[in-house]
């Protein structure tokens, strides 16, 4: 089968992402990678929980002094919305609507960038207002490592999706790039999965004690 063959909405397969052997391998390999990522984040969460509020003296801020729930709520809503927009993108991919798929991924990227901007604002706010830097306490190191690793994943996800959009802009949809888009959307959802635990375990539980 020629993966770059031109299709029409009529003969486009139901599950284009797993039509070719390469697509099947990407799909399975990517889920294995996500399982590995789950373990990576579990170790960071575990470290954070063990070191939460471990500060050298009372002049250092604790979790409940630091976090600002309205900001975290806004970040959560933006990231959650970017998750449904990438579902729309994959919906249009399965219907062979290349332009609509690209458009929904562009919206996803914009929302992701909005999330990232708020996270950068949050970190600089902590550094300037509370002198809460990476090296100020065991708590701050654990916090920045966990939330920063998530932020790095968001950054990587944005670059990845932008690269796909630009690279395939004139190429259209085929069985060669459909698995690439599909796997990128899985990555984006996984970023949201991690964020659900971050806003619950770090921010909300941080506020209650």
């Amino acid at each position: 089968m020629n993966a770059e063959e031109r299709y029409t909405p009529l003969n486009w397969p139901d599950h284009p992402e797993t039509q070719t052997l390469e697509g099947k391998n990407k799909f399975l390999g990517f889920w294995l990678f996500l399982a590995g990522e789950t373990v990576l984040f579990a170790s960071l969460f575990a470290t954070y929980l063990a070191l939460k509020d471990s500060v050298p003296d009372s002049s250092h801020p604790l979790a409940k002094d630091l976090f600002n729930l309205p900001l975290v709520f806004a970040m959560t809503m933006i990231l959650l919305t970017s998750s449904i927009t990438s579902v729309y993108a994959i919906y249009h991919m399965r219907n062979y609507h290349f332009k609509k798929m690209q458009a929904w991924f562009v919206i996803t990227v914009l929302l992701g960038a909005g999330f990232l901007a708020l996270e950068i604002y949050e970190f600089t706010h902590y550094v300037h207002e509370y002198h809460f830097t990476f090296g100020s306490s065991a708590f701050s190191s654990a916090y920045y490592t966990l939330v920063g690793t998530h932020g790095a994943h968001v950054t990587f996800g944005l670059c990845w999706i932008i690269a796909l959009l630009v690279r395939n802009a004139k190429r259209g949809l085929n069985l060669y790039n459909a698995p690439k888009y599909y796997v990128a959307s899985l990555y984006w959802h996984f970023i949201d999965v991690v964020w659900v635990f971050i806003f619950t375990v770090v921010y909300l539980i941080g506020k209650v004690g």
């Binding site: 909405p9 009529l10 003969n11 139901d14 599950h15 797993t18 799909f27 399975l28 889920w31 294995l32 996500l34 399982a35 590995g36 789950t38 373990v39 984040f41 579990a42 170790s43 969460f45 575990a46 470290t47 929980l49 063990a50 070191l51 471990s54 729930l69 709520f73 959560t76 809503m77 959650l80 998750s83 449904i84 579902v87 729309y88 919906y91 399965r94 219907n95 065991a138 899985l186 959802h189 996984f190 949201d192 999965v193 659900v196 635990f197 806003f199 619950t200 375990v201 909300l204 539980i205 506020k207 209650v208 004690g209």
Partner: protein, 113 residues
């Protein structure tokens, strides 16, 4: 596939295409409902913490439960794990969840600093 064959098969293709369009439109409706539920669960979690009247022993398990439900929606609907062909991926993910759970449990119970 040459042109002639495609012409012969077209009525079938058309019917299959229409059926598939309807099916994915239905699936998309379910996704939107899932999204609304996820927003709702998030708002409930933030309000429960924002009110600040509940005991810590209640609120922590409660918001963790909301997070687990929300992640289930994300995996099974947004990431399509409820569709067939996801047996091995889910085996990977549940193995990871077991390791994740034990790691976190160890660090919050038997760590000494």
């Amino acid at each position: 596939m040459n042109m002639e064959n495609e012409q012969v098969k077209n009525p079938n293709l058309r019917a299959h295409h229409d059926y598939r369009r309807k099916k994915s439109a239905k699936e998309m409706q379910v996704q939107v409902v899932t999204f609304a539920l996820m927003i709702f669960l998030t708002i409930v979690a933030f309000i429960a913490v924002g009110i600040g009247d509940f005991s810590v022993k209640f609120i922590i398990p409660f918001i963790l439960l909301l997070a687990v439900i929300q992640v289930g929606f994300q995996l099974y609907y947004f990431m399509h794990a409820s569709q067939k062909g996801h047996e091995l991926p889910m085996f990977f993910m549940y193995s990871a969840v077991i390791i994740a759970f034990v790691t976190v449990l160890a660090f919050v119970t038997i760590i000494w600093w």
